[in-house]
């Protein structure tokens, strides 16, 4: 009985909360464990939407409509129409202006407050996503990679090179760690780009050799393997 009730409480009546937790964890895991920066950003977006899902599912009421006034409560629609039974008999002034809703009528509308909070959150979310993508592009221009471990290796090598040369050593005692990096970035970025271009060329040649085989076929065979 006990186990069953927990099961039904969690997975039948609160399934949306469970899914929100799962999506949150997927996003968090992607941000922690995935090495690719774009994957990390997608994980961040999934995290964001999970929280939005939580807020929106709080606002749901059973048997409630969307938070837009029905014609009988509509401040403009109520002028011409004959008003409903109870409100019409209560006050004759209903036809002249809108009235505040009763408690029972309030239960008929979904809660608008979480919707408003989340609406702005979505738009700000895409703005921050764009900013993060711009930073990612800049990182790719500087280092030629968006994989975290390769980035760390390159940074380590850059640090070693900076500590070897005596001029930068002097500067480092001051504040110019940030100054030392751009030149290194330029060198590293250039090197990485050329190697990348070579890789691409070779792969393209291979692809042209086997052009008769369609790429979808290739993909399928890869998937089968």
């Amino acid at each position: 009985m006990g186990e069953e009730s927990i099961f039904s409480e969690l997975f039948l009546e609160r399934l949306n909360y469970c899914i929100y937790v799962i999506l949150l964890l997927i996003g968090l895991w992607a941000m922690l464990a995935k090495k690719n920066l774009i994957k990390k950003l997608i994980g961040m977006s999934i995290f964001q939407t999970a929280i939005i899902l939580f807020y929106v599912s709080i606002a749901v009421k059973q048997e409630a409509t969307i938070p837009i006034y029905l014609p009988e409560h509509d401040p403009h629609g109520s002028h011409g129409q004959p008003s409903g039974d109870e409100s019409g008999s209560q006050t004759a002034g209903h036809a002249h202006g809108p009235l505040a809703l009763e408690t029972e009528e309030i239960k008929g509308y979904a809660n608008p407050l979480p919707h408003v909070l989340m609406l702005t959150a979505i738009v700000v979310g895409v703005a921050t996503l764009g900013l993060a993508l711009a930073l990612t592009q800049r990182i790719f221009q500087g280092y030629g990679t968006i994989e975290e471990d390769e980035l760390l290796q390159k940074l380590d090598r850059a640090d070693q090179r900076a500590s070897l040369s005596p001029t930068t050593q002097k500067k480092r005692k001051g504040n110019s760690r940030t100054k030392a990096t751009p030149s290194v970035i330029a060198k590293k970025g250039g090197g990485a780009k050329t190697s990348l271009a070579k890789n691409k060329k070779t792969s393209k040649n291979q692809a042209k050799g086997s052009i008769a085989k369609s790429t979808t076929g290739k993909r399928q065979s890869k998937a089968k393997e």
């Binding site: 927990i6 909360y17 937790v21 837009i68 401040p75 608008p112 900013l131 330029a186």
Partner: protein
């Protein structure tokens, strides 16, 4: 690393699932969020206070006007930051190496886009102006408007879209949106109310206090729409060309 990161995740997940048992049931009318006086006030009094049928728009632009104003400022700052990060960042010929497709703008696609873009823009205005009585408003209308320019940039090339709506003009329009928003707030302050207290605008508008709030909300939404349109297009234009604003995707 992957195994190690699973430990905190499983811990957090267990805690959250444990806490999920205490959440209100699906669609519970008596849940704390729905019973709170704030949301009941918004549902019950919006019609009386502002005569706007769509409660979300009323709460967004009127009751929580400060929030929306600074959200718009956040969007504006994000656009400016993207511009600042990517401007002049391309070194030499950093053309992409992965996908080399040199193609002219396709005839069928461009003609369809020519037919559709005006309709999208009219629909964007409709969404913006009709946000009081139906789902919609400044954010959605602005995004649709920006999407129409993005469509032009996708079907011809970026230079054509930028020649229609240059980035300098983009930033001016984006700033103008915030100026409109803040200007309406300041106007109501000058007329004797508080900042963003639209009801005071009845002194300059020939309508009642409620309808003054109704119309001021429309003005505010137009401001939001300006900013969002410009920033969405600037975002796409900079990201698709790495800041050079040439050739694009």
């Amino acid at each position: 690393m992957k195994i190690l990161s699973l430990i905190p995740i499983i811990a957090i997940g267990g805690l959250l699932l444990w806490a999920a048992q205490d959440f209100p049931k699906w669609g519970d009318v008596e849940s704390p969020a729905s019973k709170s006086p704030v949301s009941s006030h918004f549902i019950g009094k919006t019609g009386v206070d502002t005569e706007v049928p769509n409660m979300v728009t009323a709460v967004l632009a009127d009751y929580r006007g400060f929030d929306t104003m600074f959200e718009t400022v956040v969007v504006f700052i994000a656009g400016m930051a993207v511009l600042a990060i990517l401007k002049g960042s391309t070194r030499g010929n950093s053309r992409r190496k992965d996908h080399e497709v040199e193609a002219e703008p396709d005839l069928i696609v461009t003609n369809t886009v020519r037919l559709i873009v005006p309709v999208i823009q009219i629909f964007a205005f409709y969404v913006l102006a009709h946000g009081h009585v139906s789902p919609g408003g400044g954010f959605q209308g602005g995004v649709l408007m920006g999407a129409s320019f993005i469509l032009i940039a996708l079907s011809w090339d970026l230079e054509k879209a930028v020649s229609r709506f240059s980035i300098e003009r983009c930033m001016i329009v984006a700033a103008l949106g915030i100026v409109i928003y803040g200007g309406i707030g300041l106007l109501s302050m000058m007329l004797g109310g508080e900042f963003l207290d639209y009801a005071e605008l009845e002194r300059v508008l020939p309508v009642s206090r409620e309808m003054a709030r109704y119309h001021a909300m429309l003005g505010v939404e137009i401001g939001v729409g300006f900013t969002v349109t410009a920033i969405m297009f600037a975002l796409y234009a900079n990201l698709s060309s790495e800041g050079s604003l040439k050739q694009g995707l």
